[in-house]
Symmetry: C2
Subunit: 400 residues, 2 copies
């Protein structure tokens, strides 16, 4: 049998993160590796209530039958209301589509708009699974730096000036994965203006938006969008639960026909009972209190890891100090290789992810370490951060 | 804003079926149009039990967290056991992957194997949503006829002999959508031999397999597969509920890495609680009794529609008379246009789907009508089939 896989498969790369995630399964390890939300934030009692309510509803037959491609209408409506109220999204011009997680939003957007040879600008480091999605449609990736104030808009403009193949800018503006950095309002506006000037798409990935625990809300780039060139996605994975596989995509109404046909060609629609439960949690419980509780959980855990790392890490290391979300990045001197650091950390009982897991070319050396503080217990965070901190000293001082 | 959609989007066509499905929403209409399973077969009490069990389980946190890409392991195992026992599938050579419905199985297979310009052989008429999936990967479709004994294997060989671009044969061997025809064992074996001879893939779509209500089990083509060139998919939509969005794909183990990376790039994994419930229904209840009850439901409804149609339809019409599944096809003389028939049927209170909804080129005239007898009540089936039968007489006799 000589049947070859399609050429696009040769562009996709295995996830470096998954490799360390597997190492993290060793019993007794403290894991900062998985990009998982805090289990304490799952509304489990509410889930029980609404699954039962759905199955006892007079509409149970339609809730179990094939559903609307766009999504369960009450969930679509309540998400639109929330986004309009919170960020001023314009649903005269735009519409919202339920997808099976932010990953599927990226797959749908790529399938609709990316042609072989198109270029995608992305923050680097960024969420590497997205790289693979763009690669599956044979797009070329161009990385631009990100720092404490967010994406480097000057670098974006340089690329746009010189590369006419750019079709899409991919950005995680708030509490970015992996850095925890957020893009300030001024740069968001600038990025939007650049997209207009050079006629490209912005694909705004905002799964952590609800998890702000310090500072004021900064509106998504989509809030500035009068032309319909910002495609906004967010997820219910961090506010309901990841295993529900639910997210949403906001695009200009006229593109809805493409989103619908792509969704029909992928999984027809997302699971309806999960959508019913999400709608129940959002509209029939004190959802603001639920969100607030989650934010408080992340604030406490974030403080714990920052304080402990600062106490123990070598003074030449630097932290990203997020104001929301679940990730913190530790930047180490160039003498420390992040992959080497990660394996040594596993030997000492903690698993993190090296920056190379978020690079376009994962084989290049990296000197930063991502830690997710969401799933470890408070005790584990303190113990794990001490191990990480002390390991920086030992490696920088050459004692290990 | 001048951003063009990718060229692949220009190959995808809107579903003719959906147009009539929308017409079917007119209150009071009897619908034979939707390809939906019988609601009476949903195990609703069991769903309540297992959703609650999952959420009260000591493993609840992991059931709500991101799950395994391959699927919820106990569900994967129980499906493998069932397929090995029932059909002799070889899970030394193959593995099973949970997907978000058979549609996603087709998307994943297409993404991995179909290159622009590859050709796909398909029964015609067939399930048109699949046409769009293959088109989204810019494959060309080549239709071959299907009759009471199933796919026309001689026509398949003719195509394979003359077209070196063929990479994949798409077939629904049992109770085909839309015809209700099944491919006999001899032709299944022949099709497999042809695939081996010409080194192509068979993508075997078997969602109705459990719904046999007459005759003996005919093993899937996958049962003959010693080379790993048959990719088998089936669905839980017809035995649990469509809105769960769960199906599975069986492929040779060495291809698993591609399936996993594609799944990671699409929706990471399918919703876990639905998988838990499906596993519960399959292993902790009398699942055989549940399947038997569903088969009995379909047998009764099928008999009702066949008997009533035979009683009223014009003698020049012919029926497919399925031995399982949910579809029946009525073949009319060439003087009757199926689209015209469908609209006239809607005027009289019944909605069906014209054969053009299952053609590669939907603009060509068609003289057959698909009826799904799964969702209508017994009374509606009798009343609707009488209307359909009488309409054939009126149209053939020229009195309408």
């Amino acid at each position: 049998m000589k049947i070859a896989v399609a050429d696009r498969m040769n562009h996709i790369e295995g996830s470096v993160i998954r490799q360390f995630a597997e190492a993290a399964l060793k019993p007794g390890l403290i894991t900062f590796a998985n990009g998982n939300p805090a289990p304490a934030t799952y509304p489990i009692e509410e889930m029980k209530r609404f699954f039962t309510e759905a199955l006892e509803s007079e509409h149970v037959e339609s809730l179990l039958m094939y559903g609307a491609v766009q999504g369960f209408p009450p969930l679509v409506e309540c998400l639109k209301e929330r986004l309009a109220k919170k960020y001023g999204f314009d649903f005269e011009m735009n519409d919202l589509y339920i997808v099976s997680g932010g990953t599927q939003a990226a797959d749908v957007v790529s399938k609709i708009w990316l042609e072989k040879g198109d270029a995608v600008i992305t923050e680097e480091p960024s969420y590497a699974s997205m790289y693979n999605i763009f690669r599956a449609y044979e797009a070329d990736l161009i990385g631009v730096p990100i720092d404490d104030s967010g994406i480097d808009v000057d670098a974006v403009e340089e690329v746009l000036k010189t590369n006419p193949k750019v079709k899409l800018i991919y950005t995680i503006p708030s509490f970015q994965n992996p850095t925890g950095f957020s893009t300030v309002a001024e740069k968001r506006k600038k990025l939007y203006d650049l997209a207009c000037k050079y006629d490209v798409i912005i694909f705004e990935d905002d799964p952590y938006a609800e998890l702000r625990f310090a500072g004021e809300t900064v509106n998504p780039i989509k809030s500035y969008d009068t032309e319909g060139r910002v495609f906004y996605t967010s997820s219910l994975s961090k506010v309901i639960a990841p295993s529900f596989r639910l997210g949403y995509l906001v695009v200009k109404k006229e593109f809805g026909k493409y989103v619908n046909v792509c969704k029909q060609c992928t999984d027809v629609h997302s699971n309806t009972l999960g959508q019913y439960v999400a709608w129940g949690v959002m509209t029939k419980t004190d959802y603001e209190a639920h969100i607030k509780k989650a934010q408080e959980e992340y604030r406490r855990k974030s403080s714990l890891i920052v304080e402990t790392l600062k106490k123990y890490m070598h003074p030449s290391c630097r932290l990203s100090q997020p104001t929301g979300g679940m990730f913190i990045m530790m930047f180490m001197p160039e003498t420390v290789d992040a992959v080497d650091f990660t394996w040594k950390g596993i030997d000492r009982g903690v698993v993190c992810v090296p920056g190379s897991g978020f690079a376009i070319d994962g084989s290049k050396p990296s000197h930063m370490i991502r830690m997710c503080y969401a799933t470890a217990t408070d005790e584990e965070i303190v113990k794990g951060a001490e191990i990480v901190g002390k390991l920086t000293c030992d490696m920088i001082n050459g004692t290990v």
